[in-house]
């Protein structure tokens, strides 16, 4: 049977039209059929009649639908979406800083990157700074213990589709392609507002930069 008429295709299509981001971690079967040119052409043909098309995340790991042309309706949608993102901007920035400080200080998060709850808890146990950062998040109640604060944070990220539980037994979570989008908006703000960034201390290997 053709994949274009399969349940997976219908599920993926429904998920896209609901505004979700499909990647191999959030929806493995959906991402698999989107790897095929035939499926993408079909979706683009179908959604083109609604002035939509498929787009990819920065790391090319996630697929989602966007409006093709910029008209008053698209501008209105963009403004609404941006306002929605701005309400959560402080949470996202603090959350990313917390995870970067826990996992690796010098690099942003990548889709597919895993995070163990036990490692996160251990990092919190060892560092008062990280505990303070966690307590500052809007998901944390001031009076609750660290474990509850971590679970509240994980719960919110799971609900928003930023992470999925890849191993329930050992509480291992994987970042989905949605993390790209969250980081992209923050970087978009940094670039457009010309917020100065601190250059890397060790830039001796700058000549290694690979021009694509």
């Amino acid at each position: 049977m053709s994949t274009l008429h399969s349940e997976t295709y219908k599920k993926a299509l429904l998920s896209l039209i609901q505004g979700n981001v499909i990647c191999r971690w959030s929806d493995p079967s959906g991402a698999e059929i989107l790897e095929r040119q035939e499926t993408r052409e079909r979706i683009n043909h179908w959604s083109g009649e609604l002035d939509m098309e498929l787009a990819q995340t920065t790391s090319e790991n996630g697929w989602f639908l966007v409006y093709r042309s910029i008209d008053p309706h698209t501008r209105s949608v963009a403004r609404d979406l941006f306002s929605g993102i701005m309400k959560e901007l402080r949470f996202y920035v603090r959350m990313l800083e917390l995870f970067m400080n826990t996992q690796h200080r010098d690099a942003s998060m990548s889709p597919g990157e895993t995070m163990r709850l036990s490692n996160l808890m251990q990092a919190m146990d060892e560092s008062p700074d990280l505990r303070a950062q966690l307590a500052d998040l809007p998901t944390s109640r001031k009076t609750s213990v660290v474990k509850d604060q971590v679970e509240a944070l994980i719960g919110k990220l799971k609900r928003e589709g930023v992470i999925v539980e890849s191993n329930a037994k050992h509480s291992i979570f994987t970042f989905t392609a949605k993390i790209d989008l969250i980081q992209d908006i923050i970087i978009f703000i940094q670039e457009n507002e010309h917020i100065p960034i601190q250059e890397a201390e060790d830039d001796a290997q700058a000549e290694l930069k690979y021009e694509r």
Binding site: F82, V93, D184, I189
Partner: protein, 445 residues
Amino acid sequence: MSDDQASFQHHPLTLLLEQTYKARDLITRAYERNGSDLSDDEMAKSEPLISAHFLRRDGNSNGIRVNQRLQKVFDGALRKNRIAAINTNLGEELNVAELSMLGLQEAERHGKGDLASQYREDVEGSLLAIYDILDDGSATIFRQVSAGFGLQENRDLKKRENEHYLRQLNSLINSFDEVRTALQDEPFTSDPDIQAFITNFELHCLQVVARISDIQNTIKDYLYRIRTLEKRARQIRAVGNQLRKDPGFYPTNTANLAQDWTYCRRIVPIKAKGYPEIHQFSSAGVYADLVNELSQKLAVESPEKDLKPSKLLSREQETVTKERRDDEMVIQQLLAECIKTSQPVSAREFWPRVLKTGETIRWSTLGFLYAVSQYLAQDPLPPNGRRPTSHHVKSAYRTIGEHHLSGTHDLLDILVYPARMSLDEALSAAGVPKSVFRIDQSQPA
């Protein structure tokens, strides 16, 4: 399953390996020295491995570490912190080849065929050694870069390791370019056999160089990704710092450009509308036609329905048809006589003359009196009446004390009289002497 396999299944080593597998997380933590402050349950799980000298207690706290000899075995297997070093200097072998070539020229000049042949083999051997250095070095680094197993988990160390490999490969390629240039010149061009060998040598070497180029691209790609992630991290931290410095920060420029960013052109869930958009001027005519069409289409007479007569006699209440009991009928006859004659009626005198039906046949006079007493206490609506019984009639109880100190009275009679009469008028009309009987208007206990 063979007998040997069956015996190995219960071999102590098999059991120990199974135990090791079950505690693999614990062993990893012990290997990474992260096994401090274990819970009592985890400590209990590690006991068999401590007994087997796989693990050792670490300090006074609930911590464990891997046996040092086992640690070395694991380090070796994981190639932990072992960075491959390759020989990038092809110049030494080139020098040896040059000396051999000079010897070859000298031997040919003196007509020493055997010696010349020996020198020719030496030159070829040196060139083959150069090929081997190229091939071995590229294969070693290819293994380090492409195999996930054994590589550094720490991203910073991994990056430095890859940078080191890239430098080594660059040196190797530079060195090989020098070799190629040298091979195009004297003394290598003097001997046709060596020239033919060099052509063949270069052909094979170029395949290795292509592989090295692939490895270099893989490493550059990895380093580019890492550098991109590092730059993104710095950009995110910059926004974080800005938000801390200026809590009221709002990115006005970005808001104006929101539609230029792909994600802001992302579709949102489409909400289905159950009503037409009639406020659009262009649509007004279309909808007016539609309404006319629908009104004509839907203007049909509905079929008549036979409605059942309503059961309601009044607006508030439905009539309940209730069969009157025999005792109620007898009591209501008593009350009816009182109302009809507008005179007091003695229940005791009424009872003998009334027509008794059903269960009332077996009643005594006193039984009838108590039934009348209960009926009047309930104060029900009379048949077809809208006001309670007490609105039409009143009653007086004639009782006598059995003993002055007993506190109880025997019921002798109930006098039912019209409500508009006073008690005195009723007693007078009934001819009851007040001085002889005790009169009590309240209900007997």
